[in-house]
């Protein structure tokens, strides 16, 4: 057998794999010193009776890595000696480690999950998808060849996405400069992040005000990642919010989208007519009296973003209502005209 000799480096994955095997195999758990002195990858560097501080720090990092993979590494107090770090025991309970037996995926479902993983091709989510697919393959089901080829992709272009996602996972308060439309300068915000959601192609952060101390009970706010104009910094830890915050945030945006209604006239047979008619939720209120345009009602979440979009259509669109949107589109068109005059 090929046990490395003392002093030689054991590859990281071999040490992590050996740690998982050892902790899965033990019923009662292993103490830290048992792990460091016997498990492959640690034992080669263990100094009996000596200073093992480096090795202990290594073990702490490995524990985090393993937990991030979804391996339920738990600690058990020794009866009668609760709270003593030296006798604390580590183990991985088999039931919490293994995928429940009644969970299986069909070929069609596997095809869909492959596509779902393909959606993330950048940032940390692509790594998560890659590992999820490895576990899915472990079950042995092969995907069907899809009838039509797809290449779906959600982009994570906003620089704020990764730091916010990390803060979300660790339940940390965040600070960032936020530029509201119509304001000249960004203002610093401090909030408790609750969820990151993509709605109509744009990433939003759902967050709670920190005014209530450590409680996640402050008013809910929605921030567009695109308007976070500087570095995101993470602060103190807060309790994890309860419930499906992503679903709540999406429902909130949907409600806003439902209640905001704009009325526009689009010239027939133009790009605006086709694209706005194909937009989700567009209501067609029929031809205008002269017959050259159609009245469309559009739902929207953010007036400033809709105004940008509508300005792009130039003379093809005339905003009828609401008046703020009318003014915002006109102001944008005049700005563009001036900038290019």
């Amino acid at each position: 057998m090929a046990v490395s000799s003392a002093g030689s480096r054991v590859p990281v994955e071999e040490r992590l794999f050996s740690l998982v095997l050892a902790l899965l195999a033990t019923e009662t758990g292993l103490t830290k010193s048992e792990i460091l002195s016997t498990v492959q990858g640690y034992r080669q560097r263990y100094k009996p009776g000596g200073d093992n501080a480096n090795l202990e720090r290594q073990f702490e990092r490995d524990k985090d890595d393993i937990r991030e993979l979804g391996v339920p590494l738990e600690t058990v107090d020794t009866p009668g000696d609760a709270g003593n770090n030296q006798t604390l025991r580590y183990r991985i309970p088999r039931g919490a480690y293994e995928l429940p037996h009644d969970i299986s995926f069909t070929s069609e479902e596997t095809t869909l999950l492959n596509l779902a993983a393909m959606v993330w091709r950048e940032g940390s989510l692509s790594g998560e998808s890659r590992r999820a697919l490895l576990k899915l393959r472990s079950l042995g089901v092969s995907a069907d060849e899809p009838v039509l080829g797809y290449a779906p992709r959600v982009r994570l272009r906003d620089a704020a996405f990764e730091p916010l996602n990390t803060a979300l996972e660790r339940h940390l308060v965040v600070r960032f400069p936020y530029l509201k439309p119509g304001e000249d300068a960004a203002r610093e915000r401090e909030v408790v992040p609750l969820a990151l959601v993509q709605y109509q192609g744009r990433w939003h952060l759902s967050a709670a005000e920190t005014a209530f101390g450590s409680q996640v009970e402050g008013a809910r706010k929605m921030f567009l990642l695109r308007r976070i104009v500087g570095a995101v910094t993470a602060g103190r830890a807060v309790p994890a919010p309860e419930g499906d915050q992503a679903a709540l945030a999406l429902a909130g945006l949907e409600e806003l989208w439902e209640s905001n209604l704009a009325e526009v006239e689009v010239l027939c047979d133009t790009d605006a007519a086709t694209r706005l008619a194909n937009r989700r939720g567009t209501e067609d209120a029929g031809l205008t009296p002269d017959g050259g345009a159609r009245r469309l009602r559009l739902h929207y979440v953010d007036g400033a973003i809709l105004a940008d979009e509508l300005a792009g259509f130039g003379p093809e669109v005339l905003v009828v209502a609401p008046p703020e949107l009318r003014a915002a589109v006109l102001e944008r068109l005049e700005r563009t005209e001036r900038d290019h005059g």
Binding site: G127, S129, L139, L148, A151, A246
Partner: protein, 323 residues
């Protein structure tokens, strides 16, 4: 598949063992194809598994405490036979973040005909949640399954399944409307923008169609002449042509990501007083004027003068409608 990091390697080892147990005598090529990795990655992993195990009663990794394989079969026939098993029998659970990534990906794909309504999505989401070691939640994507896109996608998929051409009205950004017949090759999307790439019988070339610019699409009886397996699709949705016009623009740094699709590969950019000066390539000014007018105050055309005036006229015509 991308280069494995240490965490990927561990996930791979924990996933490979149960598969090998279920597929006794599988060969290296078969395993590599199933996991989407190279044969060498399989061999390396099997060699590592074969010498791994638990400290055991003696704390010294004795023979019975380790996995073992039939080395002869492995070395001479590339065949993987586990002869001793340790600690692992079943596949690992998903982590909360892994489940989240897949669930959010599924939500994004809710308008695909493969999703066949929200029932599949809901049952898959429930399975992934139950198969995760902690509750997934924090990232989500809007499920836009009631948009017109779903109907168009279903039509496109039907065409490919039947092997017949799709006929559609397409209005390009220059305002030309044409009835076209298309052999669908692939559907691509970036966030909220969905595209059909197909062989256009009118242009006799591969073309990209924005789904929201398609109207009156119908399935025809004419058989498809070009299939995805026979046509090489360029990597980029819109390929530049030598006749393209160069346009110099200045952009606020924060808005640069919005323009990446329009920038040629390796486009040079310089700093111009806090703004970024760069060059776009466009086939005509119709797309440009729409793009620039949708980024008021953020992106400005600097040259040529003809491009500047195309944008100015477009915006002026728009503003005139309010006066």
């Amino acid at each position: 598949m991308a280069e494995f990091q240490a965490r990927d390697k561990l996930a791979f080892l924990l996933s490979l063992v149960p598969w090998l147990i279920e597929h006794d005598g599988a060969n290296v090529a078969e395993a590599a194809a199933h996991f989407g990795v190279s044969p060498q990655q399989i061999r390396d992993a099997v060699e590592l598994i074969a010498v791994s195990g638990i400290p055991g009663d003696t704390d010294s990794y004795q023979h019975g405490d380790l996995f073992d394989i039939n080395w002869d079969a492995f070395e001479s026939n590339d065949e993987i036979v586990l002869t001793n098993l340790v600690a692992i029998d079943d596949s690992p659970r998903f982590s909360a973040r892994e489940a989240t990534a897949l669930i959010a990906g599924l939500q994004y794909l809710s308008s695909l005909p493969e999703n066949a309504g929200s029932a599949t999505l809901a049952s898959l989401t429930a399975k992934l949640s139950r198969g995760a070691s902690a509750e997934p939640a924090q990232v989500g994507v809007e499920e836009a399954d009631d948009s017109g896109r779903g109907t168009t996608l279903a039509l496109i998929r039907d065409c490919v399944a039947r092997g017949t051409q799709l006929e559609l009205d397409y209005l390009d950004s220059a305002g030309n409307r044409e009835r076209r017949r298309v052999d669908p090759l692939r559907v691509e999307s970036f966030d909220d923008d969905w595209y059909l790439r197909g062989w256009c019988h009118l242009r006799e070339a591969v073309r990209t169609f924005r789904l929201d610019r398609i109207s009156n699409a119908v399935i025809t009886d004419a058989p498809i002449e070009h299939r995805a397996s026979e046509v090489r699709l360029p990597d980029r949705l819109f390929d530049g042509s030598p006749e393209d016009l160069e346009v110099t623009i200045e952009v606020a740094p924060a808005a640069m990501p919005l323009l990446v699709d329009y920038l040629p590969e390796g486009a040079a950019s310089t700093d111009a007083d806090g703004r970024i000066r760069t060059t776009l390539r466009v086939s005509h000014f119709h797309g440009l004027k729409r793009l620039i007018a949708s980024m008021p105050g953020v992106a400005v055309v600097v040259a040529p003068a003809s491009a500047r005036s195309a944008v100015a006229e477009w915006a002026a015509a728009g503003a005139a409608r309010y006066r």
